[in-house]
Symmetry: C2
């Protein structure tokens, strides 16, 4: 493992840097790639970005004014990639085992790269890229600040998650000071929903059931609902948090139908409930706040078994 | 108008400070009151908080460990109150014309107090209270930091709105550094919904209609929907932003039934549409991004007239 100073030294020596983002790219891996690419080019180096998956239109703005380039790299850098497998195909076949430098914030990083600059305290890898660009004495211009802000805001749910530190806010202050349009970035990242997503929300809200006098809420995500709404996997993100977010609810249950017809249960719990203890009864597990298990039963039975277990669990605790 | 130094000097001289919050209290006015009251008490002064309306359970935590006090004040301070009318009854009758010091960030402040410490650049009045407590050399302890953070996060939609400045982030950094549980505050403020609210969302999503190939989305909020869901006025906050937040939509239309049966139309628009220009055709108005008008017609006709106007407006512009 190396620090930011050493990582900067490696980049300073390189002339042609290829930057790799992870598959199913998100705001952080793409924000890192865009900001680092722009910073290196400004220093007179050649730099280009590669990703195994197509990048959604939501992130187009990160690559505006950043034409692609083709070259034989003298340094291959992976940004926000915890495991080489997450390069996905075709990048894994092409670059697996050949990553010179990995810059990441995941504590689970497998240290697959020749050198790894890891800071698990960073809320987003974009925080580390910010430090790196400062170390490289690259000016943080608005076109660099916008992707860095994008990575930070998406990895923190707009400064909402537990990973946010004082430093996260201070970096955001410096980025916003460059004059970027952070409100528009946040609106695009958080307040724009696809029609399919909204249709899934409608179907999920239609499915809500309550139990234990409103202490328990249950939603269902069936394959039919997904099919009929036309939702893609990323349209389903966060739906499982809906039940627990209801006033008075301490156990939120989401039943999602798997390809084989079994039901994957996601349990979210507040004090005094422990989601993991409930799921363990069905051979599952997880954490206090969030746990899961699988029930190979028809929906009505899966729901009833789950509710019976939750009722029994809550009875002595309320 | 006076600066933070002078406001601090006034407070330093006072011995018994009564702090007033505005009616329909929000996180900012209550956060200010809680933080200021705690700070002044820590300085050995007597301080108490008054509000015309009952404070919702959501804000209970702001007043934990802050027992009430009764005294004849030698200084009456209004926090986050732009106009004396916003004191509401009974406070307006009791303290109208007798406010010694107003601390506020609303540019529309009517300067009703004997002295006003106004900073319209502050995203929340809590930013000014933060400066004031610093000026007073009051230590920003976690029980003071939590209400200040609450005011800032609620008035900025969790750092999402256009009023956020670099200073907002820097103050948040200092507050979070005291060790407060900001993720829980944000979850309570933003991610907890009443059953009635969720039921309204379900009904509104059921009502969605599209026009102009998905460029226009329409939702309906009828009196029946409100009645059947049991929603209160604050459960309806922000529903009108749903249509414009849909991918591809440039004009979002919300039809809300008024008490007299007429339909209040809220239009939200993105470039190249101008909401105000469309509403002007019906005698309404507003801004480019958000405007309104009223149609005294049955729902089907009101919707059709509105859609016809939007279609005609968009035709030459797309």
């Amino acid at each position: 493992m190396i620090g930011v100073e050493e990582a900067a030294a490696r980049l300073r020596k390189a002339e042609r840097v290829l930057i790799l983002s992870h598959q199913f790219p998100d705001g952080d891996t793409l924000g890192c790639a865009s900001a680092l690419c722009r910073g290196l080019r400004r220093m007179g180096k050649r730099a280009a970005i590669r990703c195994s998956d197509q990048i959604g239109p939501k992130y187009d703005f990160l690559f505006r004014g950043l034409p692609d380039d083709e070259f034989e790299p003298d340094l291959v850098a992976a940004v926000d990639i915890a495991d080489e497998k997450l390069l996905g195909e075709p990048l894994e076949s092409e670059w697996g085992g050949k990553i010179d430098l990995c810059i990441d914030h995941h504590p689970s990083n497998t240290l697959y790269a020749a050198e790894t600059c890891l800071n698990p305290k960073a809320a987003a890898t974009c925080e580390i890229i910010f430090d790196l660009l400062r170390e490289l004495k690259a000016e943080i211009t608005p076109d660099i600040a916008a992707p860095l802000y994008t990575g930070i805001t998406t990895d923190t749910g707009c400064f909402k998650y537990i990973n946010v530190t004082p430093r996260t806010y201070r970096i955001a202050a410096d980025l916003v000071e460059t004059g970027i349009d952070a409100p528009t970035i946040n609106r695009e990242m958080f307040d724009t929903k696809s029609r399919a997503r909204l249709d899934m929300e409608r179907r999920v809200l239609d499915s809500i059931g309550y139990d234990c006098g409103g202490r328990v809420a249950v939603i269902v995500i069936s394959r039919q609902m997904v099919r009929e709404s036309g939702a893609r996997e990323d349209d389903l993100d966060g739906l499982a948090t809906i039940p627990r977010g209801i006033e008075g609810v301490i156990v939120g249950v989401t039943l999602r139908e798997k390809e084989d017809g079994a039901w994957k249960v996601s349990l979210r719990a507040h004090d005094p409930a422990n989601a993991s203890e409930i799921c363990e009864k069905f051979g599952g597990g997880g954490h206090k706040g969030a746990a899961g298990c699988t029930l190979n039963l028809p929906l009505a039975e899966a729901k009833e078994q789950m509710l019976r277990a939750v009722r029994e669990y809550l009875k002595p605790r309320l």
